[in-house]
């Protein structure tokens, strides 16, 4: 059950939009085209707007409303909106949408035209997620398996037909069963040697990083995750990516500590405990292009404390942002440049299926020479 918004648009010579006679003619053509799929349409209202014209039509006997707008720039938009109940056929099928668009394009002598698959609104299963650069992506999500608000965030596990089960935190896609490449690129599998190493994961509540690291025979991994409910959800629904590490919580070679990673990092600093690798697997780097505010302070604080528990040759490994967000990546690199001690970094990247975009990962280490600069291995 959802309200469907069918969106069509046509670009025309702007001159044809202005005068009333050709406008009436265009409305008539649109109405006739639509009436192949909708019962009789009646104009219930129209008005001149500051940049064009708008008219509202309703379908006889139903709640279907059509809005036709003219923009002086030479654009006509058509919205067809109606409530589609479960089991109801769509008013205009996918194939008919194409025919409608093509038919109107020809009759309107449009320069270009476009239709979108219907936007479904008000569904219990939300299928629309947003990329790092604010693009809309409709996922093939068909079920919500888990939906709870913890003290820290909104936690959902949904099922996608092509990506498997997927963890969504605060409406952001985090990791799906199809995302092994995410973990492998974060840890630079095949390049980094974890055998016999001591490792600390900050965050990582989905368990995938811990699970994959343990396959590389590290000496010991400690994981510091604040959200117990994320771990319970992933343990139940994401076994293919986290195995039994969230179920067992501890073993000879690893330990999961539920708590604020900053508290434990500070304790490690006091104790003089050192690691070969620290993984920053916390929230994403913010998209915002002003480097002020809490989030960048938090990121810098995490980095600074991490370097205090890293051995001199140790590495800080973390996820960055989408390739489509160069400003955000640059700002993260600006934070790295400000760090004490001076660091150098490399980057890796991969197309992450559940993100539907290419993602950048950082490997940061102390700069022996004392000057900060980047080596790009993307």
């Amino acid at each position: 059950m959802s309200a469907n918004s069918i969106l069509l648009d046509f670009s025309l010579d702007p001159a044809r939009i202005i005068d009333e006679i050709s406008r009436k003619d265009i409305v008539r053509v649109c109405k006739e085209g639509l009436e192949k799929y909708l019962a009789g349409l009646k104009i219930s209202y129209d008005m001149l707007t500051t940049d064009g014209y708008l008219c509202l039509l309703n379908e006889t006997g139903t709640g279907t409303i059509v809005t036709i707008r003219f923009f002086e720039q030479g654009l006509i938009t058509i919205n067809v909106e109606y409530y589609r109940k479960d089991g109801d056929e769509p008013k205009i099928s996918f194939d008919n949408m194409k025919m409608l668009e093509n038919g109107l394009r020809i009759r309107l002598e449009a320069i270009r035209s476009k239709h979108l698959p219907p936007i479904k609104r008000g569904r219990n299963v939300d299928v629309y997620l947003t990329s790092s650069d604010e693009r809309v992506i409709e996922y093939d999500i068909d079920r919500v398996l888990f939906d709870k608000r913890s003290e820290f965030q909104k936690i959902q596990i949904v099922h996608s037909r092509s990506l498997g089960n997927m963890l969504v935190l605060d409406e952001l896609q985090n990791i799906a069963e199809a995302d092994l490449i995410y973990t492998e690129t974060l840890m630079c599998r095949g390049t980094e040697d974890y055998a016999g190493k001591e490792i600390c994961i900050l965050g990582g509540g989905d368990g995938a990083l811990l699970y994959e690291l343990l396959k590389e025979n590290p000496k010991h991994v400690v994981m510091l995750e604040i959200d117990e409910i994320v771990m319970q959800a992933c343990n139940k629904y994401m076994n293919s990516i986290c195995g039994d590490v969230l179920e067992k919580r501890t073993d000879d070679n690893y330990e999961i500590i539920v708590g604020d990673c900053m508290v434990h990092l500070k304790r490690y600093i006091k104790e003089g405990r050192k690691f070969d690798y620290v993984f920053g697997d916390l929230t994403d780097i913010p998209i915002s292009d002003t480097p002020t505010g809490e989030i960048w302070d938090f990121i810098r604080m995490i980095l600074e404390h991490s370097f205090q528990v890293l051995k001199p040759t140790g590495k800080f490994m973390t996820h960055g942002n989408g390739v489509s967000c160069p400003e955000s990546l640059r700002m993260y690199e600006d934070q790295l440049a400000k760090l004490t001690p001076k660091v150098t970094f490399t980057k890796s990247s991969a197309f992450v299926p559940s993100f539907m975009e290419e993602w950048v990962f950082y490997q940061v280490q102390r700069d022996a020479a004392g000057n900060a600069n980047a080596t790009d291995s993307v």
Copy 2:
């Protein structure tokens, strides 16, 4: 420059939608929320619909129109629509959209709420493509590099910030520079041994398959592509995936023939020419769930002719469809079951970046035992 459609929706107790007083109250709350980002809003029209209520507001002094609809099922949809010129700031920024949605959700005591990134309409660069199962995906396409209609199809090469250059045929994403995995999964790299083999490609105009096959030291590859313009476009803009094979057209170990593959297959049958592999790299298997009509006949004809030019142990390799289209995959398999000679098949699959979905590929060969059945290697 584009018209922007900002779409919001809120689910409420249906009882609150029906009576006029609470409806007026809801409209007032929505109006107040929107007026944080829009100049004064005035109701210019409202009406009862068969399944609810609609009201139209316009922003003082601008062409911005807000449509608020009530559906008796307990859904309120809000559309904010305006023309955004190049360089204009959005009326409601991404962060403000979130605040608006959250603010209204709380004030309306909504059970759920949602907003989408603005849908851009009427742009010269079309960023919305559709998945195999009719989902809308907004790509990070920023330029059109090539745009021409050949005798056979509409050919575009566009640039995506994360996928590189991308071939789009008749509005369908075909292959992008980031899609090596597509070609490797189609050819089952690492599993199939092409050294010393004779190969025929049907279609394959982007040149990627030919380019990758030639790296495996085949005896000879012949490629039969009908559309000269596709090859010219890919040769110019897709070099990273096709190398110089489209430029050279022929060499000791390969030959590209421009023409209808059926004509040449028939010639090979007459000549008794045989191949170790035939690749079906033509148009996609149709989505339609009725196995009638030209397209399935064409697919079966291609298969039948291919097996006539295949050695007894030869294989027919082809792309299928998205994992999200099980009906379409099943129908292809139904076609395989009808074939003479009897065949067996295996499947491979991979997440193809430019498709933004998991894609299935088929490897079909004569069944020595004479009975058709599938071995699923996905």
